[in-house]
Amino acid sequence: MKAFDYLKPDAVPAAVGALAANPDAKLLAGGMTLLPTMKQRLAEPAALIDLAGIAGLKGITLDGDTLTIGAMTPHAEVAASATVAAAIPALAALAGGIGDPAVRNRGTIGGSLANCDPSADYPAAVLGLGATVITDRREIAADDFFLGLFETALEADELITAVRFPRPLRAGYAKFKSPASRYALVGVFVAETVAGVRVAVTGAAASVFRAPAFEAALAADFTPGAVAGLSVDAADLNADIHAEASYRAHLVTVMAKRAVAAALE
């Protein structure tokens, strides 16, 4: 790993200011993606701005039907939180299936979303629940946040501070994971909310996406059988050594059925 300057601000404005002043700097959250990337020299930031010193970025609060998770909250805390388990159990289950215990103790929700890995779990929950990404300067609806492969609506010097989830009527997540990395070959998050049914798919394409046909079918009949005959177009899906596009398309239907079944439990 190449040398870098190390900064550890204790407040959000200082972190944003440091990032704005140094375009070659990177924010460090849990480091579970950034540090391996730096070790491979795929990233060589001139400076790291460690967010671990900003106390206000961590924590879980439930206010009425709104669950707010601080950007620096590690996956293990979300997985173990009684508050999350009571409000959105599917979200706690999703967090408990990311990576492995050691990764969950370091990796954070803000880091996962900012990185926007096509196979990450959290984007499915954020898009599937219609959550809101809160930054140092604005609020971004999930539908506007995920733009493409490792690409989000965040500006170059913008910092995620928290994510706000509305409590759904019911929700479920199912993923077919790579046995080596536990990343989702395909993961489907299904939520029935007061505003309607949302279905978000991760792992299958360049970025997480919604499946409107699945949503319409589940709005009419919220059962696994309602989506059994549906499929997504394989033409737009990822193909790699782990799975062909047609197999991923097949998995989307299977995981959608399992996610609905989980939501009904």
Partner: protein
């Protein structure tokens, strides 16, 4: 930069560049070679240590993260004194939970943290907990048996560690 932390119950102060990894710090500078580096890509878990009581992969942890923290390595699992084994280490010994032993320090550190919160885990719970620790020798059967036995031993009334 100056980094102060607690290492195996002793205060430590080091001077390090911020790009120093904790696994390299432990092995190359502090001589604690029980923490192993297998893959160096945070997949294999041979480098697992406890940071503030939680298992983390020291090959993917920058030394500055130690500042003000409490670090426990396999060497510090038992208190001072030669040839003492933690109940989890004893269980790995008794149940032959290793062959070459390379992955064992990480396995044990992960297992101890898991077992602290899970006195009588099921086979499936142990396998889920060990997802980040790879063994290329054993097929895991004896490791799972060791962790179940070690968890019981850690919570037995006579467990003195």
């Amino acid at each position: 930069m100056k980094i102060r932390f607690t290492l195996n119950r002793e205060p430590v102060e080091i001077e390090a560049e911020p790009n120093l990894l904790v696994a390299d710090l432990l092995r190359d500078r502090l001589g604690l070679t029980g923490t192993h580096v297998g893959c160096d890509t945070s997949q294999c878990g041979a480098c697992v240590v406890h940071l503030d009581g939680k298992p983390v992969k020291s090959c993917t942890l920058l030394a500055p993260a130690l500042d003000g923290a409490v670090l426990l390595t396999i060497e510090g699992l038992t208190g001072p004194g030669a040839n003492r084994l933690h109940p989890m280490q004893k269980a790995f010994h008794e149940h032959h939970g290793l062959q070459c032993g390379f992955c064992t320090p990480g396995m044990v550190m992960t297992a101890v943290a898991f077992a602290e919160a899970n006195p009588s885990p099921s086979d499936g719970e142990v396998r889920h907990a060990l997802e980040g620790n790879i063994c290329r020798c054993t097929g895991y059967q004896n490791i799972v048996a060791s962790v179940i036995a070690g968890a019981a031993a850690m919570h037995a009334p006579s467990a003195g560690e």
